[in-house]
């Protein structure tokens, strides 16, 4: 069981949340090449260790936020709200 620290609701059971994937920087739509868009869409760093990712608190405040999580130990820590 994993407890996810929601910046607005506090620590809650992981089943309340939806995993939204690694936090990635969206390319600038005005200047991005198709290759940059494809990398943004498909390529993941997928580390075995600490990673920064987005979660969505669907059964709570219904807001997105970022956490840092260790993908082998499931240690998790808050970094703050996305917006």
């Amino acid at each position: 069981m994993m407890i996810v620290p929601c910046p607005w609701c506090g620590p809650r059971n992981v089943s309340e949340f939806r995993f939204a994937g690694e936090t990635r920087v969206r390319p600038d739509p005005d200047t991005a090449t198709p290759e940059q868009w494809r990398r943004y869409l498909y390529v993941h760093s997928n580390p075995a260790g600490w990673t920064r990712e987005s979660w969505y608190h669907g059964a709570g405040c219904r807001r997105y936020f970022s956490v840092e999580r260790h993908t082998t130990s499931h240690e998790i820590r808050t970094v703050g709200a996305d917006q």
């Binding site: 069981m1 939806r18 498909y42 580390p47 990673t51 082998t72």
Partner: protein
């Protein structure tokens, strides 16, 4: 399974030392075949079975180094040696062979996929599996007992019809059947209409079935070893050397090996191994859990899958029920089981078969699934010359072991991508030519 544990037990400690290799020097000719007569003789005389594969001293150079000693890596090594005569091959595994996905899957084989590319590919694998025991002289216990994919809604029934028609066009035996026929095949199934998710029909795939997954790994290891392939267990790859856009070798926990061709056959760690060669992968790793119950009298003749209920179940030859579900809801490299999984699984299984309410779960485990955006694998060459991949196997890697090994061996030996895997190249993501198998690859994605 007599004698099969000799090789893997022998190399548990003393990583650099050749274990037991002195027992059978140059044993290719002396290696006896398994047969009923030999079984009888060993039963009467109680003599030891010969080692199944040997732990060889590591060479400084191999023509091909395969990273990952699962069914994919060992099959590729076997077909390189048997079909193409390339025998200076090493298979490296950081643990024991078959310790990853090959020993953690639920051993289901089928070819009733959705895309013509996928169906052709997996059907070739089922065909190879049908003759595998004879080819390898090793009983892999393939039982073609039929495979049922249940539909609980109009939309999933429509997908079943779609799959059945594409299957038939490709010559794969597949048809949609009604609830009455489902009840006839699986008498313990609750096919009444007053359940939460009534069964509206099913995709029935008679050639599908289950197999002994460890035996497939051991059979390939034994056959590859007999042809001169070196299997190095407890040998972790720590780096891949690339020079001028060409792979030149691998660094391992037991020293450096030079090789012009390196094949990444890992699951779970395929992104990390590819990154060692500087190749970025469109992969996210998710654990997939499975569980097994205590053994009971045989009552379930077919493999039953329900996508809507996120569950699949089959009964092993020993009578245990093997359950699997959908991948865990977030990316992870952890292989720990969770209570959430068994609770959800139990609820869904009882919706299908209420009579199982007194069954007890013996154990649960998890394996790592490398998920790609289109639920199809990534096979063939990469931008780094000589570095090839056979990865991204998501939840469907085991059933494709033989065909992947055959195709990757051909790809390496001929330097051309075989037609059967041409749709699965890494370049398809740049070209926008994805092979969408989401509707047929697994449950509940």
């Amino acid at each position: 399974m007599p004698g099969v544990n000799a090789g893997s037990n022998g190399s548990g400690d003393g990583a650099a030392a050749p274990v037991r290799s002195g027992h059978h020097p140059g044993s290719r000719s002396r290696r006896p075949r398994y047969s009923a007569l030999r079984l009888l003789r060993h039963g009467l005389t109680q003599e030891d079975w010969p080692v199944t594969w040997r732990a060889q001293p590591m060479r400084k150079h191999y023509d091909v180094v395969i990273v990952g000693g699962g069914v994919h890596g060992l099959a590729a090594a076997y077909y390189l040696a048997s079909n193409h005569g390339i025998r200076n091959v090493a298979v490296l595994d950081k643990s024991y062979i078959g310790s990853g996905g090959s020993g953690r899957n639920t051993a289901i084989l089928r070819s009733n996929y959705l895309t013509p590319e996928g169906i052709r590919f997996y059907d070739r694998s089922v065909k190879l599996y049908e003759h595998l025991a004879a080819d390898l002289n090793f009983n892999v216990m393939f039982s073609q007992r039929g495979h049922l994919t249940l539909a609980h809604s109009d939309s999933s029934l429509r997908t079943m019809h779609w799959r059945a028609e594409v299957n038939k066009l490709q010559g794969v035996d597949s048809e949609v059947i009604g609830p009455d026929e489902v009840k006839r095949l699986v008498p313990y199934m609750d096919t009444s209409t007053n359940t939460r998710y009534p069964i509206l029909g099913a995709l029935y795939h008679p050639p599908g079935g289950i197999i002994r997954h460890d035996a497939v790994v051991w059979g390939y290891a034994r056959a590859a070893d007999a042809l001169g392939v070196h299997i190095h267990q407890d040998t972790e790859v720590t780096g891949i050397d690339v020079s001028g856009g060409r792979v030149t070798g691998v660094r391992t926990s037991r020293g450096t090996i030079s090789a012009p061709v390196v094949l990444n056959c890992t699951a779970g760690w395929s992104t990390l191994i590819s990154q060692m060669a500087g190749v970025a992968m469109p992969i996210q790793t998710f654990p997939l859990q499975a569980a097994v119950t205590e053994p009971v009298r045989p009552f379930l003749d077919t493999v039953v899958v329900s996508g809507s209920l996120h569950v699949y179940v089959s009964q092993t030859d020993r009578g245990e029920l093997v359950f699997g579900g959908s991948v865990d809801p977030f990316a992870s490299y952890s292989t720990r089981g969770t209570l959430d999984f068994v609770e959800e699984l139990a609820g869904h299984v009882l919706e299908l078969m209420p009579a199982l309410s007194k069954m007890r779960v013996l154990r649960q485990w998890a394996g790592l699934c490398d998920m790609t955006p289109d639920f199809s694998p990534i096979m063939g060459r990469t931008p780094v010359e000589g570095f090839q991949v056979d990865v991204g196997w998501g939840t469907y890697g085991f059933k494709s072991g033989p065909v992947s090994g055959e195709a990757m061996a051909e790809c390496i030996a001929t330097c051309r991508t075989p037609e059967i895997i041409s749709a699965f190249g890494l370049d398809r993501f740049a070209a926008g030519e994805l092979v969408g198998e989401k509707g047929a690859a697994a449950v509940g994605h």
